[in-house]
């Protein structure tokens, strides 16, 4: 069985993987043992900042509209709303940073493992022979920063589906093909 690094390099050559992915593979080969955890792409932090800001913005806008329509839009409440907006934006940013730092994954020939969580820590482990199929999801925001989410399905319930967000798009394709080949090898 070929190692993960050599497999991914093979796919890199075929797919002309981006600079970031190349750098990632080189880093993996040079400094990490095959079983060490790997972080997700740092660009995902920008994406999560943006997503969280939009989410907070919508919630706070809803609150402001409620205050206006209920006739409570007085200066002290508007000031409190502004304070809350600042706190929520800071918290959203902090949460995205912490979530990025918590995210890591590793793959060996038998198991895919992910670890993430800020308040609740979750570790998911999937035996590779149980993999049913692998999807790649790319929303508009993810596409705008060149990222993708890898979704690994098993025959289990929805909780037994593994998501790895924040992967370089081309790296995600290479990783998907590698995982599929690994899964086929176990059949």
């Amino acid at each position: 069985m070929l190692t993960l690094q050599s497999q991914l390099q093979f796919y890199c050559r075929i797919l002309t993987v981006s600079q970031q992915a190349q750098a990632c593979f080189t880093h993996m080969q040079s400094s990490e043992s095959p079983n060490s955890y790997r972080p997700i792409d740092q660009r995902v932090v920008r994406l999560w900042h943006l997503e969280n800001t939009v989410r907070v913005g919508f919630m706070m806008l809803g609150l402001l509209l409620a205050l206006v329509f209920l006739g409570h839009a007085r200066p002290p409440l508007i000031m409190a709303w502004c304070g809350l907006l600042v706190v929520a934006l800071v918290l959203a940013r902090w949460f995205a940073d912490k979530l990025y730092k918590s995210w890591r994954y590793r793959i060996d020939n038998e198991v895919l493992e992910t670890h993430f969580g800020v308040i609740f820590h979750t570790t998911q482990l999937v035996p590779m022979p149980r993999m049913q199929h692998v999807d790649i999801h790319r929303g508009p925001l993810e596409r705008s920063v060149g990222l993708a989410t890898l979704v690994l399905h098993t025959a289990g319930t929805s909780q037994a589906t593994i998501l790895i967000p924040g992967l370089d798009a081309q790296y995600a394709v290479a990783l998907r093909d590698y995982l599929v080949q690994l899964g086929v090898g176990h059949d």
Binding site: V111, F120, T122, L125, V126
Partner: protein, 506 residues
């Protein structure tokens, strides 16, 4: 009456059409779905023209039923069950026979009279039956079942299991045990929901039948006026509350008993090769088979009442388990009620190498008690603050009195909470009033999760969760909380590597 055979079937092929009575049952189904709106329209408008319009609206459904009967064909060819139907929009479905988990057969009382059945082809897909053959003659359905499973290699008997032509009866549930099982917490809850739904739909006075609403009010007034002379007003309120409580309890119990006796009437579990056959039902007779190796997870459930009588319920999930309508039809249970002492023998037919009597249970961390009590104490603290806002000191502190009970509850929970890692199975058990024991074949594990909340991290604990296919009937049961953190991670790693070394069979 028999179904006309499909023209020139292929060699070794099992082919045919639906039974001619399909038309009758489909038209009856259409009439049934239009009956209530028609009656309502007649009552409201008192105009026969509206009923005639409804009759015209029924026609497309009747024509669709006719088209279904004329075009529906099924055939076993090679290793596939081929089904085709449709007049304008022709549909073809090929189901690989090795993917067929079960040919479930259901028969209402009317279908029993005509000796026809509805056959559901079940696969691992959890979106309902893969195909429905409604209706076939009973013999034809049994022939189809035999033809499907004759092509399925996994239905061949395991080594050491002797194959016989006739099923061997493993267990028959007596009516006495069925009535006792109706006292179980789950059945009572389900029956309570049914009773309340029934009352809500038709009104309590119509259900009781013996008296109108006005009679009940008059009777209650008479009772109240006479009781009032003997005891005070607050006591009357208490008596009324107790009366209403016991009335609901009695009605719920009655519904539960009738439901259990009707759904699981003459329940038999038998074995044919590797297949477990279930047959049950008074009005609608149901029959289904389950190859033991397709059991993804098995649960032995004993609530307080059942446990006190030495009884238990056995549930099992396959990859195609689907929660919707399963409880109403009783499909969620493998054995509705069985003596606890007979379970080891019965399990030897379901999970042959499980050895439930020799399981070495491993208890979780004693920090489980502290964690549970801490969470309970925080909740009680919040309750107390809220109560003090309404009720003045010192009576507002009443929720604090619950603290010893919270501690006691967590001690009892801890005592039963345990897991065991066997050669081929992972076992968990938990519960306080209701004890649940879960048996999970390691080869069926799809993923393992370790979860840690704030309290867990503070106390160095973690929750281990095992994911399998199905889990619709056994709930999200395969988890064990309060394991020491390091132990949970080590167990998870060991389990996934163990699973990776085994082969999953659907």
């Amino acid at each position: 009456m028999t179904e006309p055979k499909h023209a020139t079937p292929a060699r070794d092929a099992f082919a045919g059409r639906l039974h001619p009575l399909t038309l009758l049952f489909d038209v009856l189904g259409v009439i049934r779905s239009f009956l209530l709106p028609a009656l309502l329209l007649l009552l409201i408008t008192q105009n026969l023209t509206m009923a005639l319009i409804l009759l015209v609206l029924m026609m497309p459904s009747v024509i669709s039923a006719l088209a279904k009967y004329l075009t529906f064909m099924y055939e076993i060819e090679g290793a596939e069950l081929k089904i085709s139907h449709g007049l304008l929009h022709r549909r073809h479905r090929n189901i690989p026979l090795e993917r067929v988990h079960d040919l479930r057969i259901e028969q209402t009382w009317l279908q029993r009279f005509f000796k026809v059945v509805v056959a559901y082809v079940e696969t691992a897909g959890g979106e309902g039956p893969e195909a429905t053959l409604s209706v076939l003659s009973a013999e034809r359905a049994e022939g189809l079942r035999a033809a499907i499973f004759a092509h399925t290699p996994t239905h061949a008997p395991a080594s050491g299991v002797t194959q016989s032509a006739e099923p061997i009866l493993l267990h028959r549930v007596s009516i006495f045990h069925l009535l006792l099982s109706s006292l179980s917490y789950k059945r009572m809850t389900f029956s309570l929901a049914l009773s309340l739904g029934f009352f809500g739909l038709f009104g309590i006075d119509k259900i009781l039948g013996f008296a109108s609403g006005r009679d009940i009010v008059n009777w209650s007034g008479f009772l109240l006026s006479h009781t009032h002379k003997i005891i005070g007003e607050s006591a009357i309120l208490l008596v009324m509350m107790v009366f209403v409580f016991f009335m609901f309890l009695f009605i719920t119990l009655a519904v539960s008993m009738v439901w259990s006796a009707t759904i699981f009437h003459n329940f038999t579990l038998s074995r044919l090769g590797n297949d477990l056959h279930r047959a049950y039902g008074l009005l609608t007779r149901r029959a289904s088979s389950l190859p033991w190796h397709r059991i993804q997870i098995l649960e032995i459930e004993e609530d307080l009442i059942m446990r006190s009588m030495g009884l238990a319920t056995v549930r099992a999930d396959t990859a195609g388990s689907m929660a919707a309508a399963a409880r109403v039809s009783g499909r969620d249970v493998l054995l509705p009620v069985i003596n606890r002492s007979k379970i080891p023998v019965m399990l030897s037919y379901m999970l042959p190498d499980v050895g439930i009597e020799t399981i070495a249970w491993q208890q979780v961390s004693t920090f489980a008690i502290r964690r549970g009590t801490l969470k309970g104490a925080i909740f009680i603290g919040l309750m107390t603050v809220l109560t003090l806002g309404v009720i003045p000191f010192p009576f507002g502190l009443a929720p604090v009195l619950l603290l010893p009970f919270v501690y006691g509850y967590n001690v009892v929970q801890y005592q039963y909470l345990a897991y065991a890692y066997g050669c081929n199975y992972f076992h968990t058990r938990r519960g306080w009033l209701r004890h649940s024991t879960y048996l999970i074949p390691i080869r069926n594990i799809q993923a393992v999760t370790v979860h840690q909340g704030l309290f867990d991290r503070r106390l160095g604990l973690a929750t281990l969760k095992l994911h399998t296919a199905g889990q619709a009937y056994t709930g999200s049961g395969a988890f064990i909380p309060n394991i020491p953190e390091q132990e949970a991670y080590a167990l998870a790693a060991q389990l996934v590597h163990h699973t990776a070394a085994t082969r999953y069979r659907w």
